[in-house]
């Protein structure tokens, strides 16, 4: 059963319906929203599988179905759905992991009174994410992109009573919003350039060859190709969402949200949206590759940022004491690897790594969640330890996940996907620095994961919570096992000699070569992994610390370095000092201007009017009035005298009348007054 492009909208619609149903249910409802959410996810998973099947029938074709949103002036805004293997794979990935995380959450959040709301927001997130994956229009992608941001804001700030969570939610939304603004400008530019911002629109779409040629050929005043500029603007949005340097600061803080949220959103899916966007618009990004005259290629920027982030993430992960923050920085580092892969030109390797990473990172986060739940919310490594014996399944699955993340050879999926990236980086002609950063990253990754496993599962329980931990309930262990299987098995989908996944994604042929060809690189990377594990064992495995307050072994040997890393290289402080203060200062200036300068101007106008009034009154008072006053005084005096005539005696009036009559009569009759 395959799903045609025109029915694609069903995939995001089912979780959306579940979320609307969940959010409008009474706040304290539990079973209804949970059941609704799970049902939505299962339905979406089924539809996604059908869609993937439909896409794989002929990987090369891009089935689209467009519809009109609304008209403004004489133009109509058109949106659309797109079905291709990339969308299919990603939909299955999101719905599958979403389902597993949802099942895990039913157990993990069983004590939380507002679990109904949680599942409502979770379904909203999945709906927005799916909408983002299957759209054919950059505008619709932007809409879902921001809704994903909203869902992440609501989920990070789920326990909004805790100020730290609320601040983290705001920080996440604002930082991703900074990226989104770059995205908006890119979107608007693309819409102006292509008239509809659709990806594939029968040749006129943004990613269709003729448009790409036109975009890459039109040059900006600085010599840049338009496609490069738009590409980089879209990359700014992707960097914001996928936590690339310098917009990565929100990801570690996002760990304030519940652990299932961290697992689904801040490890597997949402942060991968940026990579997905780059993969989706890869033709646009790569449009300027061929042009020698262009001073800067979009993909070079992506590669550089990717490499920097990979290295930075790994380095920062080494000295974190919170289990979730270690994994968060690890995610930042792995996302750096994916961007690196895209930068060096192989988006297929990036997507392959994205898929494998989604599974084993979700596994690691859920494992961490299981640990946290068992130890009554103890997240600090220094107070954990010795859990291997007590939590066998969690330990086993966590170990498998760690193996996949480190890239232990041949067995684990992480090895193959990371190999693909390193292989592509090695072949990059522009510069070898990203390749070197990748290798260093491999060592560091091995080191901090070994440290994590040793600190949490080996040695003695250093904290009160760790001492009494026992294995998590079945509903939590089930998803862990499933994910563990995927963490191991998925690698075999993309072997160099059997590139099933790559050919499907590429939609065309994919160079098949034997194991021997990339063997040298595999040996080197395995050696590096073993080196990292050894170093990790050397510092954290040899002497088992029993006291939580004991100094971290690494800190003992290199105190300065450790302090710097623990302080996250003071990046947050740097931001606060520069951007933060600049913003606050600008705000203060605006408020000052507003109150005094513009306000002042109006006040001044008001005050001048008043002074004119004063002057007028003064002149009036002394000059004119004086004159008027005594004349009026004079008049009043005479007035009073006349008043005396009014004696009140009626008869005196009559007399006057009679005399008057007489005088007038005489005048009239004889006065000759005719």
């Amino acid at each position: 059963m395959t799903l045609s492009a025109s029915l694609l909208w069903l995939i995001p619609a089912t979780p959306l319906a579940a979320s609307v149903f969940g959010l409008f249910a009474p706040r304290t409802a539990r079973t209804l929203p949970i059941a609704g959410a799970l049902l939505g996810l299962v339905a979406a998973l089924g539809l996604s599988v059908a869609a993937l099947a439909g896409a794989l029938v002929d990987p090369a074709v891009r089935a689209t179905s467009d519809f009109a949103w609304f008209t403004f002036g004489a133009q109509t805004l058109r949106l659309g759905w797109l079905l291709d293997p990339l969308a299919g794979f990603m939909c299955v990935l999101v719905t599958l992991i979403g389902l597993l995380v949802a099942l895990f959450s039913t157990a993990y959040l069983r004590h939380d009174p507002r679990i109904g709301r949680f599942f409502g927001f979770l379904s909203l997130f999945v709906a927005a994410m799916l909408g983002l994956l299957v759209t054919n229009s950059l505008l619709l992608l932007f809409i879902c992109w921001e809704l994903v941001g909203l869902a992440s804001y609501l989920l990070i700030g789920f326990w909004y009573e805790r100020p730290a969570a609320a601040a983290a939610a705001k920080k996440a939304f604002i930082t991703t919003r900074i990226g989104d603004l770059g995205f908006l400008i890119g979107l608007v530019w693309l819409h102006q350039a292509t008239g509809s911002a659709l990806f594939h629109d029968g040749g006129a779409g943004a990613l269709d060859a003729p448009t790409l040629a036109r975009l890459s050929s039109t040059l900006l005043p600085g010599g840049w190709a338009v496609s490069t500029a738009i590409g980089l603007l879209l990359f700014v949005g992707a960097a914001g969402k996928s936590g690339q340097f310098p917009l990565h600061v929100w990801l570690p803080d996002a760990m304030e949200g519940p652990t299932p949220v961290s697992a689904l959103i801040h490890a597997a899916t949402m942060v991968a949206a940026g990579v997905f966007l780059m993969a989706r618009v890869f033709p646009l990004m790569a449009a300027d590759q061929g042009l020698a005259t262009v001073p800067f290629h979009a993909l070079t920027g992506v590669a550089v940022i990717g490499a920097v982030t990979a290295l930075l993430g790994a380095v920062l992960a080494v000295a974190q004491n919170d289990i979730k923050r270690v994994l968060a920085y690890s995610t930042v580092s792995q996302l750096g690897y994916m961007m690196l892969a895209i930068g060096v030109g192989s988006w297929v390797a990036a997507v392959f790594h994205l898929i494998t990473h989604a599974f084993f990172k979700a596994l690691l986060f859920l494992g961490a969640g299981s640990v946290i739940d068992a130890t009554h919310h103890e997240q600090d490594l220094r107070r954990l330890g010795g859990l291997a014996g007590r939590m066998r399944v969690t330990f086993a699955t966590f170990a498998l996940g760690t193996g996949a993340l480190m890239g232990l050879p041949f067995v684990f999926s992480g090895f193959w996907s990371k190999e693909a990236i390193l292989h592509a980086a090695e072949g990059w002609t522009v510069s070898h620095l990203p390749f070197a950063a990748g290798l260093v990253g491999v060592v560091l990754t091995a080191f901090y994961m070994t440290r994590l496993v040793l600190e949490v599962f080996f040695g003695k329980a250093r904290g009160e919570g760790a001492a009494h931990a026992e294995e998590s309930p079945g509903l939590m262990r089930g998803p862990l096992v499933v994910l563990a299987v995927a963490a191991v098995g998925l690698g075999w989908l993309g072997l160099p000699n059997w590139p099933w996944l790559q050919t499907r994604l590429q939609g065309g042929d994919w160079p098949v070569h034997g194991l021997g060809e990339g063997f040298g690189l595999m040996v080197v990377s395995t050696a590096l992994v073993l080196l990292g594990i050894g170093a990790g064992w050397w510092w954290y495995g040899r002497v088992k610390r029993t006291d939580a307050r004991a100094l971290d072994p690494l800190a003992r040997s290199w105190p300065a370095v450790h302090a710097a890393l623990a302080g996250r290289l003071w990046l947050d402080e740097l931001y606060a000092a520069t951007v933060g203060r600049a913003f606050a200062m600008l705000a203060r200036v605006a408020a000052f201007f507003d109150r005094w300068v513009w306000g002042g101007a109006v006040e001044a106008a008001g005050r001048t009017a008043e002074t004119v009034g004063q002057v007028n009154r003064a002149v009036d008072e002394d000059g004119l009035n004086a004159g008027f006053d005594n004349t009026s005084e004079h008049l009043r005096g005479s007035g009073r005298r006349y008043a005396k005539a009014q004696t009140g005696d009626a008869q005196s009036y009559l007399r006057v009348v009679a005399i008057g009559l007489a005088v007038v009569g005489v005048l009239l009759l004889w006065g000759g007054v005719r």
């Binding site: 008869q651 009559l654 009679a658 005399i659 009559l661 007489a662 005088v663 009759l669």
Partner: protein, 188 residues
């Protein structure tokens, strides 16, 4: 000139001047009634009999009664001397007379000089039927207006004269009931 006219004229002038000079209000009121009767006679003499009779009825019958009532009601105590307080101020009398003299000085010569067209022979006759037609014809509006004036002035007079509430009624005025109004002392 006919003797009757002279007699009636004499009656009118004498009673009128006596009424105006008299110091006793009731005497002047009664004398004025006589004047009105004289005037009624004059009207009859002149042939306007309806006017004469209406003059007699209205003035002699109606107005005189009103005047007498007014005079009686405005006396403070039963035993108050009818003679009023002596006239104040000779100046007033002189000024008044002077003014009257001036007016007379204007009217009399004007009358003498005025070129009056006279009609000799018997005066015109005016039947009551004729007066009725005139009143009901061209002067109908005037009749109605006078009717309204009469009603309004009666109501007005009633309102002005009748004491509406207790405080309007001064302490000393026992409203003619003869009852002594409690121990209020005599106002100064």
């Amino acid at each position: 000139m006919s003797l009757a006219f002279l007699a009636l004229a004499l009656v009118c002038v004498v009673t009128a001047s006596a009424a105006m000079i008299s110091r006793n209000l009731i005497h002047s009121a009664l004398l004025l009634v006589l004047t009105w009767i004289g005037l009624a006679g004059l009207y009859l003499w002149a042939g306007a009999d309806f006017v004469g009779f209406s003059q007699a009825i209205v003035y002699v019958g109606g107005v005189s009664m009103v005047v007498l009532f007014a005079v009686l009601l405005t006396r403070r105590q039963r035993d108050e001397p009818l003679v009023l307080i002596p006239e104040a101020g000779v100046g007033r009398v002189v000024a008044g007379l002077a003014a009257t003299f001036w007016v007379a000085a204007l009217l009399v010569p004007a009358m003498v000089v005025a070129p009056l067209v006279q009609r000799a022979g018997p005066g015109p006759t005016l039947t009551v039927k004729r007066i009725g037609e005139l009143l009901a014809g061209p002067h109908l509006v005037a009749v109605l207006v006078v009717g309204v004036i009469l009603t309004v002035s009666l109501i007005g007079a009633l309102y002005l004269a009748a004491p509406v509430t207790a405080e309007d009624q001064p302490e000393w005025d026992n409203g003619g009931t003869g009852r002594d109004r409690g121990n209020q002392e005599e106002p100064s």
